[in-house]
């Protein structure tokens, strides 16, 4: 059995580390490219959201590289992600690929099915499984830290190209690293290399928070490297959701019987009192949180037609008014053009930058 899984930002690092430690052979799909998306979009329904198309492209590439089993998480929320699995399976079958698909639905959808699926993965559930899982979680934490360092370094260093080359070097090396231990070491080394760059500590860059749909903000390919672009312009970005946050709130906290997304729910309450699915509450909560933490601007990114984020999109203008914080709305799909995207980001950066400078003069 050769497992594979779709890309979602840096998630592959932790997932690969976990499978390595468990002794399960897995194939990382080749990094998403335009070709991946084109192949996925060709077979996907026209109106489906972007993550579906990219994931399908990932599967096809992985299958061509020899994978025969796909594992993904599922959900039964009102978001379309919950039905990705069954439809993608049908599409792959119709394309003539003979693959098995393991959809890990949350245990509350049927604990028997959940355990069965875990068995299918070849893992025996023992104390070791738990340890491996926690190790993988630690990798997620480390990746988060690496990202934070990147956000910090990018606007402050003159040599942006050097940052890029270090990150690319990491991306190519991590594919050959095995197990949580080796990968953790590699992440630490990369972090130190970034921090060793020539940093101008006196710069106080504007701060931009990135909110929106979880896949399109985590996956740099789907949002055309928005973080990198903003960072290179000179903004310190922060991304509201990460793989670690997802794991923490969906896996760790329920195990510890803690309430997931407590802060986000509290902050979004005045705007949206109930859960309606997707990450609407989180998006709104983070928007308020960023505004309260003194951020200068926000960028909301979501795939065209995303149902929950359309609701957030209609509520966000109110937050914009209430907290006096500018928000840029970016909708991505396979038709998104790079030039227009870059222009909009630049215009937004210029606006936010001028605005914060004006405010500072008023204060001083």
């Amino acid at each position: 059995m050769k497992l594979t899984y779709p890309h979602m930002g840096e998630a592959y690092i932790a997932v690969k580390a976990m499978f390595d430690d468990l002794g399960i052979e897995s194939i990382i799909p080749p990094y998403s490219t335009d070709n991946t998306l084109r192949m996925g979009a060709k077979e996907s329904p026209e109106g489906i959201c972007l993550p579906f198309k990219i994931m399908l492209g990932n599967y096809i590439k992985s299958i061509e590289a020899g994978a025969d089993t796909i594992v993904i998480t599922g959900s039964c929320g009102p978001c379309r992600f919950g039905y990705y699995g069954p439809l993608q399976k049908l599409i792959l079958q119709d394309m003539g690929y003979d693959v098995d698909m393991i959809i890990l639905d949350p245990p509350k959808e049927g604990i028997g099915k959940f355990i069965n699926n875990l068995r299918k993965l070849g893992g025996k559930i023992s104390s070791k499984t738990y340890k491996v899982f926690m190790d993988a979680y630690k990798v997620c934490e480390k990746i988060d830290e690496l990202n934070q360092v990147q956000y910090y370094v990018r606007p402050r260093t003159k040599d942006k190209a050097r940052v890029n080359s270090i990150v690319h070097d990491f991306k190519s090396k991590v594919l050959n690293a095995k197990g949580t231990k080796e990968i953790s070491g590699l992440i630490d080394a990369t972090k130190n290399r970034l921090l060793a760059l020539d940093i101008d500590k006196d710069v106080s860059p504007i701060k931009i928070g990135i909110i929106g749909e979880i896949y399109t903000i985590i996956d740099p390919f789907s949002n055309l490297n928005a973080e990198e672009r903003l960072g290179n312009m000179g903004a310190e970005v922060h991304r509201s959701m990460t793989v670690k946050d997802w794991a923490e709130n969906n896996l760790i906290k329920p195990l510890r019987r803690e309430i997931p997304y407590e802060l986000e729910k509290r902050l979004s309450k005045p705007y949206l009192p109930v859960l309606i699915g997707g990450h609407t509450q989180q998006c709104l909560g983070h928007a308020v949180n960023y505004a309260l933490s003194g951020y200068d601007g926000l960028v909301q990114i979501y795939p065209m037609g995303c149902m929950p984020e359309i609701v957030s999109r209609s509520i966000l203008p109110q937050i914009e008014k209430d907290y006096n914080i500018p928000i840029l709305y970016l909708i991505v799909d396979e038709q998104t053009g790079e030039a227009g995207y870059q222009t909009r980001l630049e215009a937004f950066y210029d606006y936010v930058e001028a605005r914060s400078r004006r405010r500072q003069t008023i204060i001083s």
Binding site: G47, C76, R80, L90, E109, Y271, M304, I315, I331
Partner: protein, 319 residues
């Protein structure tokens, strides 16, 4: 003078209006539905709603904007879930907020949440919550709810027998003395019964002598049964209705063709239609057409495609 409660004619209006109307009337309120969609309302909708929302949400915004100065209260229920363990669509859950933050100067909103995800019993609490806006007497609310439920059952049975909602609600009807082929139309109620949005589809069918069968004319049991082909349970009731009725229409030999209407940007449909196509169309050799509607859809191309579809059915029958 009694309180005037406005109900925008959009989304699940054609599903639950009789219930809402009876319930509010029994509580002493005057119910003011907005008129059937027209050009003005649609334009208002596309002006006030955010641009990437789907057509029915835009239409709903238009109705809300149209009604806002004419009523004291506006009923925009938050329909999170109307069947246990099933949602409708996230936009239904966020509808009160979408309207609230897009339109200025709204009257007081009644945005009671109806969430039967865990159990149907929560509906009772929602109705009490809704009733207390008008009266403090719980017995009166209960009586109103009972009468409303009765009304809804009568209405649902009428639809099951093949009546159209417009006959029940507005007293207008589409003639049905046809002898032509039978076409199944699998579509959400907000596209099917809004004759402005679908450019008088039902009238056009009738004029050509075509009989039609609609999802509301099918027993819930049939729909459930057809949806059992999925390994994973379907967790949208709206999608279930669509897939179940479409698959029934494919399998039923009396039905000569299947027509689907969808609105541009409908998240649920993007999945459901693909599932229907992959599961139904390949297996059954039946005329099948999907038409996408949005606020820019023109009458002429719509008619052309419809005619082509009818011709296809006629030719199949002639052979």
């Amino acid at each position: 003078m009694s309180v005037r409660v406005g109900i925008p004619r959009g989304m699940y209006f054609y599903k639950f209006y009789p219930f809402a109307k009876r319930f509010l009337m029994e509580l002493g309120a005057e119910v003011v539905p907005s008129p059937p969609t027209n050009k003005e309302i649609l334009n208002l909708g596309s002006r006030f709603c955010i641009d990437d929302a789907c057509l029915p949400v835009k239409v709903y915004h238009g109705h809300a904007e149209y009604l806002k100065d004419k009523v004291d209260y506006m009923l925009i229920p938050r329909l999170t879930s109307i069947v246990p363990r099933e949602y409708i669509c996230p936009k239904f859950g966020g509808l009160p907020e979408m309207v609230k933050y897009s339109i200025n100067g709204l009257p007081k909103l009644i945005d009671v949440e109806i969430n039967m995800y865990k159990s149907r019993i929560s509906l009772i609490n929602s109705l009490y919550e809704l009733g207390t806006v008008f009266t403090k007497n719980p017995y009166k609310i209960k009586k109103a709810a009972d009468k409303a439920a009765r009304e809804q059952i009568i209405y649902d049975n009428c639809l099951l027998k093949g009546e159209l909602p417009c006959k029940y609600i507005d007293g207008t009807d589409v003639s049905k003395n046809n002898s032509g082929p039978l076409v199944g139309i699998a579509t959400h109620p907000y596209l099917l019964y809004d004759s402005f949005i679908n450019m008088n589809l039902l009238d056009k069918l009738s004029d050509r002598g075509i009989k039609f069968i609609l999802p509301e004319m099918l027993e819930k049991k049939t729909i459930e049964e057809k949806c059992r082909i999925f390994e994973k349970r379907m967790f949208w009731s709206s999608s279930k209705d669509l897939i179940g009725s479409a698959l029934y229409m494919f399998e039923n030999n009396n039905i000569d063709g299947i027509l689907m209407l969808t609105s541009f940007g409908c998240g649920i449909d993007s999945l459901s239609i693909e599932l229907i196509q992959r599961l139904g169309r390949k297996k059954y050799n039946k005329p099948f057409m999907v038409m996408t509607l949005d606020e820019h859809t023109g009458d002429a191309n719509f008619n052309t495609r419809l005619e082509a579809f009818f011709d296809l059915i006629d030719r199949r029958q002639a052979n």
